[in-house]
């Protein structure tokens, strides 16, 4: 049994006030990651502040041509959302691969990012889509590119008094297509490795490429070297194969209970090539 102080504020201001006032308090939304660590007694926070009853944190809405996703939006909400389906389908595809239906009903985008696991399924498409995160505290707020949010396993740029309140997506890139590929040991599993690729063509050459890889480093990784190799170049089969090699070199996986470093690296290479070939219409992923 877990015993600790529990707050369930009804407004964001109240939540921010509590976060500043109660030292050692942790924010909880769906609890799908946090509860596991509480139950195993890995964490024993002084208090929990729930974000589940705060209306402004839930749901997706269009904002400045792009979209704002409230931090407490569940994966099920994302899957059902028409804006996501129309403008950011890769995000829906990743949301569909999170856990089971029950986990998707509870787990939230904000929680997935703030938990800062290298395998966070939503982080990869969001990195590829160029998302930013909004961090708020009592009396102030700031925005960061998602790339700068992750500092290490379980570590983020959030200050002690801050709460992650929203994910901001830029307007959809017309003509860009994106894919998310994930390998778990079984279907309902954390990623052994995963890849998200966004590709926009300008005639025969790649105009824009974004590549992110999960479970192969201390944080969800942007593979900028791979992006640079492809942007402005014709994505011949030789070049996509080369991109896969570079991707395998850029990642830094570890061996743990779920897989080996070698196999994770191997998956990244295979998935990157397949994602590119598929986005180019040359091969099924």
């Amino acid at each position: 049994m877990i015993r600790c102080e529990y707050h369930c504020p009804r407004a964001l201001g109240e939540a921010l006030g509590l976060k500043a006032a109660v030292p050692g308090a942790r924010v909880i939304a769906g609890g799908t990651d946090l509860m596991v660590r509480l139950r195993s007694r890995e964490l024993a926070p002084a208090a929990l502040i729930s974000l589940r009853r705060i209306p402004e944190l839930a749901g997706v809405r269009e904002e400045q041509g792009g979209a704002r996703i409230g931090a407490a939006t569940t994966f099920t909400d994302l899957l059902d959302d028409p804006v996501v389906a129309r403008d950011y389908p890769v995000l829906a595809r990743a949301a569909a691969r999170v856990g089971s239906r029950q986990i998707r009903n509870a787990g939230t985008v904000g929680g997935n990012l703030a938990n800062a696991s290298p395998c966070a399924d939503s982080a990869l498409p969001l990195l590829a889509l160029g998302a930013r995160v909004r961090l708020e505290r009592s009396g102030g707020s700031r925005e960061l590119p998602l790339d700068d949010f992750f500092l290490g396993p379980g570590a983020t740029a959030l200050a002690e008094d801050e709460i992650l309140t929203a994910v901001i997506l830029p307007p959809p890139d017309i003509g860009a297509r994106a894919l998310f590929l994930k390998k778990g040991r079984v279907k309902m599993d954390l990623a052994v490795a995963s890849v998200a690729v966004l590709l926009s063509m300008d005639g025969p050459v790649c105009r824009k490429v974004r590549v992110a890889a999960g479970s192969v480093g201390p944080v969800p990784l942007r593979l900028r070297e791979v992006e640079a190799l492809l942007e402005g170049a014709a994505p011949t089969p030789e070049r996509t194969a080369r991109a896969a090699e570079v991707a395998m070199r850029c990642v830094a996986p570890i061996t743990d209970v779920r897989s080996t470093a070698d196999y994770r690296r191997h998956i990244v290479g295979v998935y990157l090539r397949r994602a590119l070939e598929s986005l180019l219409g040359r091969e099924a992923a």
Binding site: M1, K183, R185, V186, K187, M188, H266, E283, A284
Partner: protein, 748 residues
């Protein structure tokens, strides 16, 4: 033989309660004044317990009692042979002071709350003398190995329990002369297999409540597979008459063989007696995984020989199984492995040795298939390899060698006359997989890549067939009890009560009992009630294992119905009767040659597997699995299909994602996030169930046992399909990514 109720897919009695969360499982029971119990495990694989000091634990406020070895009147138990202490520690029983695996139990704390009990565990001081340990059964056979158990005298009931040094059980078949047969062979296939263990992973972890009932009887509510055997083992350990003990089964969340041996029952009874209050225990998932026995891991060498035309000449199998720290049901599991590892084939020369060997690993015991999955894998892998080496179609090779009804099996007794199911199920599976047949025999479909497959996807098809006994064998007089009561005043009974001690472990036994009772009584099913499984009100219906329950209890129900109807017609009100069905006799098998008549009934089954392999990633999935099973007569076809689908999925888990790892006697896969059971998202695209109904002459309405059959043939069929897709025979499974990639690499 179909009837008004037999052969009809009635909705399960417990369906609504389970879906709505109303069903009460052992962990759901609470009583006034209830205390909690927690168990102290040894945490070392092999040690002598020199002493246990409970003073600090007993002094903790809220602790009611601490049980140790000296609190157990007869400190031993075991379904087949009592070689395990209830609590390890000094007492008057020789060898009971030894811990032989890491979760051997040393003490139990009973306290006001679960938290206090857990806290008190940490205050118990145990003085251990660590001893050298053995974790590989092959090393336990070495002449310089240490001996893990005293020299037990054994028992004439189980002559295969030889207790020769670390060999707990030994089985043999000797028929003909294999050596000269190998000299005449055109083709020989030799293999070494490593067949893994498996965790039962039933949904409901072990739990229960012990208390003294209104008659002062020591009562245990728990989940098991044979209530009267639980009662007997509790009574034995407590040195009581069985009548002083009562065992009640509520809803049970799965078993698969994993509840055949005792878990919490004996300690709950001891605790309730000690504190004279109700005592409850609920194991965590981790406890359930680390503190219970598993399927046997098996190391096998096989050498089979055939003539050019496919005629089998000889089979030589040498099998060493890890029995773990205690016998449990190892001797009988090995008996079934012995009878299945040569397949259902006409082989004139057979030499088989099967050893069940003690180690300091977790004990190994009953698990769906009970030795047949391992035995069948050896036989069917050998057959698929022989077919390939001979250039013969695998279906054709089997058809040429199948034992015909009336012909002797390797142990001498004849395949029953009703055994058409072997051929029928193989034919059905082959046909669905696209096999054709002409004057030259059976022919596999041409291998065609599917349109739209990317280059990294390759496909394979595999198949296997098998048979396994129904019911307890090897000379045990199989029996099952049922009782009935008809109530009412007029000519027609208004209400009927059915009594049976059958464990409904989730397969729907109680539903099927009700259907069979309605059929036998000629009464509407709505008028019948199946009474709870409770040793206070029923005789023994035997174990819910060996695919036996429907077969055995159905016959008992028929007999009881006949008797109660006769009394009703005589005017008895309420009319009461009971009946004990005795199955046809079997015999022990000869210790040197294996000769005997060990079984009275068999189930027959075949499986076909379509596998899709990603050659780059080494991963695979199953678009389609076909299982044909001769069930004699499906009493409730929908429930039978559920058994087939469940068994197929459970077996696919065993060969693919489930990987039970023990390192130096310590389980490494202790949660369901490291021990990966297939979920609904991992199951085959399609499971096609074919029910074949060749009536079993002794079965009720022609029904035949079936609960284990679909499990046993899956592994060899998958290996066969993987061979085609990956280009290599992989002889050790689970077929992990690493093993598949290695096979692919070697192929290139």
């Amino acid at each position: 033989m179909k009837g008004d109720y037999v052969g009809q897919s009635l909705v399960r009695l417990d369906a609504e309660d389970k879906v709505c969360g109303r069903a009460t499982y052992p962990g759901d029971f609470e009583m006034e004044g209830m205390a909690w119990m927690k168990i102290l495990y040894a945490g070392r694989p092999h040690a002598r317990v020199r002493g246990v000091d409970c003073a600090k634990a007993e002094a903790l406020p809220g602790v009611l009692a601490v049980l140790t070895s000296r609190d157990v009147p007869c400190n031993e138990y075991g379904l087949q042979y009592p070689d395990q202490p209830v609590l390890c520690g000094p007492c008057d029983k020789e060898g009971a002071d030894e811990v032989r695996f890491v979760t051997d139990q040393v003490a139990a704390v009973i306290a006001e709350t679960e938290a206090i009990a857990e806290q008190a565990l940490g205050l118990i001081e145990v003085d251990y003398e660590d001893l050298p340990a053995i974790f590989d059964p092959r090393q336990a056979l070495e002449p310089d190995a240490i001996r893990l158990h005293p020299a037990y005298p054994g028992t004439p009931i189980h002559p295969e329990l030889v207790f020769e040094f670390n060999v707990a059980s030994r089985h043999r078949i000797r028929r003909g002369d294999v050596e000269s047969a190998f000299e005449q062979a055109d083709v020989i296939v030799e293999s070494e297999y490593e067949i893994p263990g498996q965790e039962h992973a039933f949904l409901q972890p072990e739990a229960g409540l012990g208390y003294l009932d209104e008659q002062g009887r020591i009562t245990v509510i728990a989940a098991g597979q044979w209530a009267h055997e639980d009662r007997a083992q509790i009574a034995h350990a407590m040195a009581l008459e069985p009548e002083k003990v009562r065992v009640v089964y509520p809803a049970i969340g799965g078993a698969f063989g994993g509840r055949e041996d005792e878990s919490v029952q004996i300690l709950l009874a001891l605790a309730a007696q000690k504190v004279e209050r109700p005592v409850k225990i609920v194991w965590s998932r981790e406890e359930s995984i680390v503190a219970r026995y598993k399927r046997h891991k098996v190391y096998a060498r096989a050498r089979w020989a055939a003539r050019k035309d496919g005629t089998l000449l000889a089979a030589e199998n040498h099998v060493v199984a890890d029995a773990g720290a205690y016998v449990y049901t190892t001797n009988k599991v090995m008996g079934n492995l012995l009878l299945t590892c040569n397949g259902p084939y006409r082989i004139p020369n057979v030499k088989t040795d099967v050893l069940g060997v003690y180690t300091n690993n977790l004990p190994k015991g009953a698990f769906r298939g009970f030795g047949a999955p391992q035995g069948n894998f050896i036989a069917e892998s050998q057959m698929n390899k022989l077919a390939e080496k001979l250039g013969l179609d695998p279906v054709e090779l089997r058809m040429r060698n199948l034992i015909n009804p009336g012909e002797p099996m390797p142990w001498g007794s004849e395949l029953p006359d009703d055994a058409r199911g072997l051929k029928d199920s193989l034919e059905a599976v082959a046909e669905r997989l696209g096999w054709s047949r002409d004057e030259s025999g059976y022919r596999a479909p041409a291998k065609a890549a599917r349109a739209g497959d990317p280059p990294h996807i390759v496909r394979g098809v595999g198949l296997a067939i098998g048979h396994k006994n129904v019911g307890f064998s090897f000379g045990y007089q199989e029996n099952a009890w049922a009782g009935m009561e008809l109530r009412g005043r007029g000519d027609e009974p208004e209400e009927g009560l059915v009594f049976a001690a059958s464990s409904d472990v989730g397969q729907g036994t109680r539903t099927v009992i009700r259907q069979m009772a309605a059929e036998a009584l000629g009464l509407p099913v709505e008028k019948l009630r199946v009474e709870p499984t409770d040793t206070a009100i029923t005789g023994s219906s035997g174990s819910c294992s060996a695919s036996r329950m429907t077969f055995m209890i159905g016959n008992a129900v028929r007999g009881a119905a006949e008797a109660v109807l006769a009394r009703w017609r005589e005017g008895q009100r309420p009319a009461r009767a009971e009946h004990t069905y005795l199955a046809p006799k079997t015999t022990q098998i000869d210790g040197q040659t294996g000769a005997g008549d060990p079984n009275f009934s068999y189930g027959y089954v075949a499986a076909g597997v379509e596998l899709e392999l990603d050659t780059e990633l080494g991963t695979y999935r199953f678009p389609r699995v076909i299982c044909a099973n001769d069930v004699g007569q499906a009493i409730n076809p929908r429930l039978v299909e559920g058994q087939v689908e469940g068994a197929v999925i459970q077996a696919l888990g065993w060969v693919s994602s489930e990987h039970f790892i023990e390192r130096d006697g310590v389980a490494q896969t202790t949660t369901l996030s490291t021990y990966l059971v297939p979920t609904i998202a991992d199951i085959p695209g399609e499971i096609e169930t074919i029910l074949i109904e060749n009536p079993e002459p002794h079965g009720p309405w022609g029904a035949r046992g079936m609960g284990e059959m679909p499990f046993i043939v899956v592994a060899a069929a998958v290996q066969h399909a993987l061979r085609q897709a990956a280009g290599k025979w992989v002889d050790d499974f689970p077929f992990t990514i690493e093993r598949v990639l290695r096979a692919l690499k070697q192929e290139r």
